[in-house]
């Protein structure tokens, strides 16, 4: 083990280029900034996760095991706000996008390294403000901030929470901008658009959504603050506003935001499936353009959150049709990934298990989306646990599996060391099983009619709630295992070498951990992505 340590430090790389807290807090190296994000989003995940655990414990009893309804409301609001805005949205883009976008195109850094560091500081300022808001006093609007509840009726920390989300939004916009410019302007010679790894197509599509969508939610939250503080009538009918307007504005961002969470995971899965079956991706251009199609259509489906809101029937019909349209590119991706395995040389190291887990959970989550796009069925299951189950399959099952897959795949590149593969595979299995036990019962609860966001429920729903809580305890263990062995591996893991998986892609052609400048000299690209045949 000690020889391993010597081996890693025998040459200069981005981790030993400099030491001390200042070398991290003032760094403009995209790889170090990625690690700043990795540490901070892990902390936010822990806070949001603790809230989730408390929610599931509370719901073991029909009358609520722990909290008063008011405290429960603050708890699920905290869970939602932190997980959505401070874990899921930044997760893959800010960590792996930061680390990999320059490396995958053969560049030295992002186009705007200082802006990149600024993005992290903006994210942290927003995050700290939100932590203050949800922990000291709390906020009880849910992550959706629906009006006029949020503008007129609640007395909690709405302003500081909304301000925190508003500020963090700029981090998202600037990161997206940085990626778009980098991908356009800094590709190595020979790296044409259609030679780019699909992860980059996914990051590009995600960045477009971040740039175009985030300003809308920022404006919306600013209007909430304006109405709450100065009583300007925008959303509350008592002062001449329109409460439905808020929902239009909010979902115009927040539906595409779901694709900010899932598109990067889809990009990751394309990398993993190809590597662990030693095959080029089946239907490259279909997978690439389906990312772009998802990004475009995602802006046109927000009204499916409002089928029962009192919006006109005709608006409902159009949004229903458009929501079905977004199912098609998602299906195309799943079929192409499956076909990539055909006649491959398939191995099952941990990252591959996460990728297959992603396909399974995303399929189940995506298909239940059809229920919610169907007007007559949505009328029954809207705002019930069916919806809670559906979006957790996508945002936790899908996005989280993709995130963990990425973490396990690129961990040797980031740290230079391998983790114990057996433990990692065990964790993947535990998470997959725990996840299904937690969230599958929620589909049934929703079909039975249990509303979401209630602290007290009728006793006939108890069995399924207890099942869900039991599953959550397994899931929590599943998430805890990687935390242990990954930290362990940083010191004791065997040295990985530049390319432990035999993967293709520029990031694997440089040592692990990479030198500060990524590549000794600018690489020249002469082949397609996933050229596993060569």
């Amino acid at each position: 083990m000690t020889t391993a340590a010597v081996n890693l430090d025998s040459r200069a790389h981005y981790l030993n280029a400099d030491y001390g807290i200042k070398s991290w807090l003032l760094t403009t190296d995209h790889k170090r900034i990625a690690i700043l994000y990795l540490v901070s989003i892990t902390l936010f995940f822990l806070v949001g996760g603790i809230a989730a655990v408390l929610i599931r414990i509370h719901l073991i009893e029909p009358n609520g095991a722990i909290f008063e309804p008011g405290a429960y409301n603050k708890l699920f609001s905290m869970h939602g706000i932190i997980m959505v805005f401070f874990f899921l949205i930044p997760s893959i883009p800010a960590v792996f996008g930061n680390f990999l976008v320059p490396m995958m195109i053969g560049a030295r850094d992002l186009a705007f390294p200082k802006l990149n560091l600024l993005s992290w500081y903006i994210y942290m300022v927003g995050g700290v403000l939100v932590l203050y808001a949800v922990i000291w006093g709390g906020v009880d609007t849910g992550w959706t901030f629906y009006t006029p509840l949020s503008t007129t009726y609640v007395n909690t920390n709405v302003i500081s929470a909304a301000l925190g989300v508003f500020i963090a939004g700029f981090s998202s916009i600037l990161t997206g901008l940085n990626f778009v410019v980098t991908i356009h302007k800094m590709r190595a010679p020979g790296m044409t658009w259609f030679r780019m790894p699909l992860f980059l197509w996914a990051m590009y599509a995600t960045s477009l959504i971040q740039i175009l969508g985030t300003p809308v939610v920022a404006i919306t939250l600013a209007l909430v603050a304006l109405e709450r503080v100065f009583h300007v009538g925008v959303f509350d009918p008592a002062v001449g506003g329109d409460p439905i307007l808020f929902q239009h504005l909010f979902w115009f961002y927040s539906h595409p935001a779901v694709y900010i969470m899932i598109l990067p995971s889809m990009g990751v899965v394309s990398e993993l499936i190809t590597c662990f079956s030693k095959k080029r991706i089946f239907g490259y251009s279909f997978v690439a353009f389906s990312s772009v199609a998802i990004a475009v259509i995602s802006f046109l489906v927000w009204g499916h959150h409002m089928f029962v809101s009192g919006q006109s029937i005709y608006a409902g019909i159009i949004f229903s049709a458009l929501s079905f349209a977004v199912a098609i590119p998602s299906a195309i991706k799943v079929f192409n990934w499956t076909a990539t395995l055909y006649k491959g040389s398939v191995s099952y190291q941990a990252p591959m298990l996460y990728a297959i887990g992603f396909i399974g959970l995303f399929t189940m989550g995506g298909l239940t989306g059809l229920f919610l796009a169907t007007l007559a069925v949505d009328t029954h299951v809207h705002d019930t646990y069916f919806v809670v189950g559906h979006f957790h399959y996508i945002m936790v099952g899908g996005a989280m599996m993709g995130y963990l897959g990425a973490l396990h795949f690129w961990w040797p590149k980031i740290t230079g060391r391998l983790y114990p593969d057996g433990w990692a595979r065990l964790a993947a299995a535990v998470i997959f099983i725990g996840f299904n036990l937690t969230f599958f019962p929620q589909y049934l609860l929703g079909f039975l009619g249990m509303p979401r966001r209630i602290a007290i429920y009728p006793p006939e729903f108890q069995v399924l709630n207890v099942m869900s809580s039991a599953g959550a305890s397994i899931l929590a263990v599943g998430y805890a295992i990687p935390l242990v062995y990954l930290i362990w591996s940083m010191r004791y893991g065997p040295v990985a070498g530049p390319n432990p998986w035999g993967a293709k892609g520029l990031e694997w052609e440089t040592p692990s951990p990479p030198p500060t400048e990524n590549f000794p000299q600018t690489p020249v690209v002469t082949e397609e992505a996933y050229a596993y045949g060569k």
């Binding site: 309804p69 008011g70 409301n73 009918p237 395995l341 398939v346 297959i356 007559a376 949505d378 045949g533």
Partner: protein, 313 residues
């Protein structure tokens, strides 16, 4: 803990079965595609597992016909489900003409219900079986949502506007009524029951207890108290006799149908729409009438057939 456990909700209304059929059809599609994907992955995973590190699998670029197949088949299924769901939704959204009207006001954190005959209830709605019921709903404060899972119906209850729902119960019994839109601190407690009764029992229930007259009568009393008659009965303002449900010509040349939303707006924001030929002199009654009183005034105006002539005398 297992008491009342079931994984199928009651089918308590005429629309429940239709919704369930579509739901189960979707379940079948889900199971089919999940099985196809899972089994294919498992099969490929075993059949093509890596046997040696030096293996060089044949590289396949893609297959256009296959891409078309798995684009067009899901597309076709989506079209079918969309058309089915949409036609059912349109049918389920249109109340029959013969519906009994009941009025719903949501407020933090209770449901207030008024029957046209005058009966008022909180968190319990008594209705007759096999009779179409139309709910006209509004909120005094935040957005609520009136949901009866056994009937497969749900609609947001929004401040500042009227939304409607209808259903026809097919069996007597007691069914959950939930608020499905998070509405603040005691959202969890904003719930109750819909109690479906045999028609005779319902009549008995309606006539029982001390009641202050029908909604229209209560509205008439308000009409007097608020002195609406000083204008609307003298020609200073437009007559309200027989206007309900009829087109009204406005001073800007447009016409509007005098429905609940129009009457409500005219009481609260009289200058929003001015009837042609009348000066904009009506004061606002905002803050003077509650949402329930507004509904009573509407019930009264609805009751003013052309021949009764009470308002114009």
């Amino acid at each position: 803990m297992w008491q009342g456990f079931s994984i199928r909700p009651d089918q308590g209304s005429t629309i429940a079965q239709g919704v369930d059929h579509l739901f189960y059809f979707l379940v079948a599609i889900d199971l089919f595609f999940t099985a196809v994907i899972f089994l294919t992955i498992f099969y490929f995973a075993l059949r093509y597992r890596r046997r040696s590190e030096r293996e060089q699998p044949e590289q396949i670029e893609g297959n256009l016909p296959l891409e078309l197949v798995w684009t067009l088949i899901p597309l076709g299924i989506c079209v079918v489900v969309f058309l089915w769901g949409t036609s059912l939704f349109i049918r389920n959204s249109r109340p029959p003409a013969a519906s009994t009207e009941i009025f719903v006001v949501g407020k933090q954190w209770m449901w207030k219900l008024q029957h046209p005959e005058g009966a008022e209830e909180i968190n319990e709605l008594h209705i007759p079986v096999n009779q179409p019921i139309k709910l006209t709903m509004t909120s005094e404060d935040v957005i609520h949502d009136f949901s009866v899972p056994a009937f497969r119906i749900k609609k947001d209850v929004v401040p500042g506007m009227y939304t409607t729902l209808w259903f026809q119960a097919t069996q007597t019994g007691k069914f959950h009524l939930f608020c499905d839109q998070y509405c603040g601190t005691n959202h969890s407690l904003m719930k109750g029951y819909v109690i479906v009764m045999a028609p005779t029992e319902y009549e008995q229930w309606l006539s029982g207890g001390v009641r202050g007259g029908t909604m229209a009568e209560a509205g008439a009393k308000l009409y007097d108290q608020l002195a609406c008659i000083t204008c609307h009965g003298t020609g200073k303002g437009p007559s309200l006799v027989g206007i309900y449900g009829r087109p009204v010509k406005l001073s800007d040349g447009s016409t509007v149908v005098a429905d609940e939303a129009y009457v409500r707006e005219s009481v609260l924001y009289p200058s929003a729409k001015i009837v042609e030929g009348y000066p904009p002199i009506m004061p606002t009654f905002k803050g003077q009438v509650t949402e329930e009183q507004l509904l009573q005034l509407i019930a009264y105006i609805k009751s003013l057939g052309p021949q009764e002539g009470k308002a114009s005398k």
